[in-house]
């Protein structure tokens, strides 16, 4: 195979606080025609920056300070802006992480699709429209002849992501950069997008750089995997070899994350009073009912994981329990006593017992308050501590979450990493000394290693204080590692619930089955096997055939 892209000793810097800081430190990368390279690493590893550099492109405030990028004999770092524009979109295309944000809201999908081919002079507008419809069919989009004439907001996230892949294909480029194209999607949608991307890349023999932080995903897509850590290359190897024999310690640690699992606790006595009992909750936003008769119990010292796709009503249930969204009907009991449904009618003791940790620690912490003030507020409000007592208590709490008090107490949230911010969120919840904590997707925004640290911390705190957790997540790996019981939700209803061990053992409710089987596995053959099992292989081609007949 012939060489398509060669990046040699690439150094990239980003500007912040008036100085240039290194992002990529002398990384080499090469790609043959038709080859798929997986680029993985945690956030901040420089994956996206590297991917964009492969297009000779830097975001504002970023520069390539050294090295060379050679695409099919063209030096992208020396080429003129016009010369590069002639390549971008036509021979090198890009698929962004969030299709919803990367499609222009002001134009129809198909007009954005045809823009590239028409402006680059590859096809006429009508040819390109016809081609778009065929690509939509190949990518298994519903109603391929009409879907393009919608505006981006009229189409779901998974469909948009496929439309964006189609758009990248519009000029039949030699190389596509996929920048986390499935990260924002539910597992069930992710499968469809992955399968579509893989099919179409194989079919047109397009080379690709596939950027992701999810090892199992990259295992399905890539021929070769390159691991990045803080701008340095850790190792590169063929996919199968990398999975079976990772060399570097860092790579091994990435692999190990998914192995954290705590033993399931014995089932509680049936006569025990649950800490929280949700009974027949119905809730609505405006006129639209979003929860229908939701019931489950959470016992002392246990973790109940609530799983489901986005829009299934997980977070709404949490809002009902906290009283932020008073349910239309049903009862919420705490230690066997019914709680007022509206949080405004609950007394301080009742409020104190139910605490919450949020998904986005960034937005949940006041950026203008120091860590000491953030944690001190509930200490003062609920426990009535002031002055030196308050400070001592805050220091204890920081100790609990494994952040040295003397170093962190006077810092602002912006000076902390994502994982540290999430720990502050935990400390703030603990400050009220509750019996019950709702964790709403607390690890979703974090890298796997950091997430594991948070999960271990939560597990330890639970053991020490006999806390009860309601753990909202869409990630079944997380469920596997920490849940005692599982509640599966779909469209505002509970479709299945029971102990974790039962949940991961067949027979399941069909929806649970779909969720479980959709979680990518490390096995590189997993996707092919699954698609064959589900009988959805080559549906795309069948759809094109059908369309052409009509």
């Amino acid at each position: 195979m012939s060489r398509l892209l060669t990046m040699k000793d690439v150094w990239i810097e980003g500007r912040s606080d008036e100085t240039w800081n290194p992002i990529i430190n002398g990384v080499d990368l090469h790609l043959d025609k038709g080859e798929v390279l997986g680029l993985i690493g945690e956030s901040g590893a420089g994956k996206s920056t590297m991917g964009l550099a492969a297009m000779g492109f830097c975001r504002d405030g970023v520069r390539i300070s050294k090295g060379s990028v050679d695409f099919d004999g063209i030096n992208l770092l020396k080429a003129s802006a016009a010369r590069k524009r002639a390549l971008l979109g036509k021979r090198i295309a890009y698929v962004a992480q969030s299709a919803a944000a990367s499609f222009n809201p002001a134009h129809r999908i198909i007009d954005q699709h045809t823009e590239g081919p028409v402006q680059h002079g590859v096809m006429s507008k009508s040819e390109s429209e016809r081609d778009a419809m065929e690509l939509y069919a190949k990518l298994r989009l519903p109603d391929p002849e009409n879907i393009g004439f919608r505006y981006p907001h009229q189409v779901s996230g998974g469909q948009l992501q496929r439309a964006m892949t189609a758009m990248a294909m519009s000029c039949r480029p030699d190389l596509i950069i996929f920048d986390e194209p499935t990260t924002a999607l539910d597992v069930t949608t992710q499968i469809e997008v992955l399968a579509s991307i893989r099919d179409i890349v194989e079919q047109f023999g397009t080379a690709a750089i596939y950027i992701t932080h999810d090892l199992a995903v990259v295992a399905q897509m890539a021929d070769r995997i390159k691991v990045l850590l803080k701008g340095d290359e850790v190792e590169t190897a063929e996919t199968r070899q990398m999975l079976s024999h990772p060399k570097a310690e860092y790579t091994k640690s990435l692999w190990a994350v998914r192995e954290f699992k705590r033993p399931q606790k014995p089932a509680v006595h049936t006569s025990a009073t649950p800490v929280v009992s949700v009974q027949g909750i119905t809730a609505a936003y405006g006129k639209i009912n979003v929860l229908h008769d939701v019931s489950f119990d959470i016992h002392e010292g246990r973790t109940v994981a609530v799983v489901g796709e986005s829009g299934s009503g997980k977070s709404t249930t949490a809002r009902c329990i906290t009283g932020l969204l008073p349910p239309r009907g049903g009862v919420i009991e705490f230690d066997g006593v019914a709680l007022p449904l509206d949080y405004r009618k609950r007394n301080k003791h009742q409020l104190r017992q139910v605490q919450m940790i949020y998904q986005m620690a960034d937005t949940a912490l006041n950026p203008r308050k120091t860590i000491g003030e953030i944690i001190g507020r509930p200490v003062e409000f609920y426990m009535g501590l002031k002055g030196r007592d308050k400070r001592r208590r805050v220091e204890e709490l920081l100790d609990e979450i494994e952040l040295p008090a003397d170093r962190y107490i006077d810092r602002l949230p912006s000076e902390l990493s994502g994982g540290q911010k999430q720990r502050i969120g935990i400390a703030r919840a603990l400050a009220a000394e509750p019996k019950f904590i709702i964790c709403d997707e607390v690890t979703s925004a974090l890298d796997q290693l950091v997430a594991e640290g948070i999960l271990k911390l939560l597990a330890r705190l639970q053991d020490e204080r006999n806390l009860s957790y309601m753990f909202i997540t869409h990630d079944l790996a997380t469920v596997r590692s920490i849940a005692d019981e599982v509640v599966v939700m779909k469209d505002g209803e509970v479709v299945e619930q029971g102990p974790k061990t039962d949940m991961f053992r067949p027979p399941h409710h069909p929806y649970t089955d779909l969720l479980l089987s959709s979680v990518p596995e490390m096995n590189p053959d997993w996707l092919s096997t699954l698609l064959a099992e589900r009988g959805i292989d080559n549906i795309g081609d069948a759809a094109v055939g059908k369309m052409n007949q009509e």
């Binding site: 964009l52 297009m55 492109f57 975001r59 504002d60 590069k84 524009r85 002639a86 390549l87 971008l88 979109g89 036509k90 295309a93 890009y94 962004a96 969030s98 944000a101 990367s102 499609f103 222009n104 809201p105 002001a106 134009h107 823009e115 590239g116 402006q119 680059h120 009409n146 919608r150 505006y151 907001h153 009229q154």
Partner: protein, 343 residues
């Protein structure tokens, strides 16, 4: 499929119609409140018409007689409602200054004296000047804003910013005299007096209006140009702009096709505010060029306490503001594809 598209469009039209009607009703309410404010403010003006017109010969009896003739002896609330009822029916009352006092005793007040007849030609002159200015200024500012965004931080951008800022910061009469100096005195291409009259041909009218229109263009450009530039630059960090660049689109196309349609709402709002200014705030320019617009009439009427004319002018100004803001609101709503094409 076709049916659903049609129903969608139908739903959309009815939503937009509903919004328009709602805003119109709110606009009327605002106008009503403003009318109270206007009436109160005008009546708080020191001095009165009878005193002003009689000057030295203002004996208490004569003042009293004129006040009675004009209805100024009535309590303010009665006068307000008389005025309001008249205004709603399109009768803005009679001008004090043009009145033949004897006629108040008799039946016929004469057409010349009605406020409407006095304001109408002036109003159309003002609209004409505002229209000509808008036709020059709006495209010019938006284009300048687009170019400034395209070549941001370049010498051109800095020059455009400096030029528009210094023109908005200079007094209007100063700009007017500079333009007169260059375009009427040193190079006599345009007339420096804009004394237009009824029955004048369009060409001549345009020629005479051009200099005040250019002066006003200089005054309103800065605001609109800077908003256009800022609204576009604000969007340049969005992922869809990055996407357009990564598709190899030219910088001009990225800005005009990808950024501008999403930046319309704030631009439309600033344009509307400036258009309202062109109708209500151009008295200085009118005076310099002797342009017979509504602004001059307004100032003259205040000077001689011709209350009905002052009130009518204020009401027209308020209505212009409300109507233009309403139009801006509706246009920014319509420019949003999420509303134009609901799910």
């Amino acid at each position: 499929m076709i049916i659903t598209e049609k129903t969608r469009t139908g739903e959309y039209l009815s939503t937009v119609l509903k919004i328009i009607l709602q805003r119109l009703a709110l606009g009327l309410l605002t106008l009503f409140v403003v009318s109270i404010l206007i009436f109160a403010a005008v009546n708080l003006l020191p001095g009165d018409f009878a005193q002003a017109i009689l000057g030295q010969g203002a004996t208490p009896e004569a003042v009293e007689a004129i006040r009675r003739d004009l209805g100024l002896d009535q309590p303010p609330i009665t006068r307000y409602f008389q005025w309001l009822v008249g205004a709603v029916q399109g009768d803005l009352g009679n001008s004090f200054a043009q009145a033949n006092f004897a006629s108040f005793v008799g039946a016929d007040s004469g057409n010349k004296a009605s406020v409407a007849a006095q304001i109408a030609p002036r109003f159309w002159n003002t609209m004409f000047l505002a229209g000509v200015t808008a036709l020059i200024a709006v495209p010019f500012s938006v284009l300048l804003g687009i170019l400034a965004a395209l070549y941001r931080n370049s010498a051109f951008d800095k020059f455009a910013n400096m030029f528009t800022l210094s023109s908005i910061s200079s007094p209007e009469f100063f700009l007017a005299y500079i333009l007169i100096l260059f375009l009427a005195v040193l190079n006599p291409v345009l007339p420096s007096l804009s004394n237009i009259y009824q029955g004048m041909g369009l060409g001549e009218r345009l020629e005479k209006t051009l200099l005040p229109a250019l002066t006003l263009t200089l005054v309103v450009t800065a605001h609109m140009m800077r908003m256009t530039r800022a609204a576009i630059i604000n969007l340049l960090a969005s992922p869809y702009i990055e996407m357009a660049r990564l598709k190899g689109m030219s910088p001009m196309r990225v800005i005009v096709r990808h950024a501008l349609p999403n930046a319309l709402a704030p631009i439309i709002n600033v344009v509307a505010l400036n258009l309202a200014y062109l109708i209500t705030g151009v008295v200085v320019v009118e005076v310099v060029f002797v342009y017979p617009g509504i602004g001059q009439l307004f100032v003259d009427s205040v000077k001689i306490r011709d209350i009905p004319v002052v009130q009518a002018c204020c009401l027209i100004f308020a209505a212009a503001y409300i109507l233009l803001n309403l139009t801006a609101d509706i246009m920014s709503i319509v420019s949003n594809p999420r509303l134009r094409h609901p799910k």
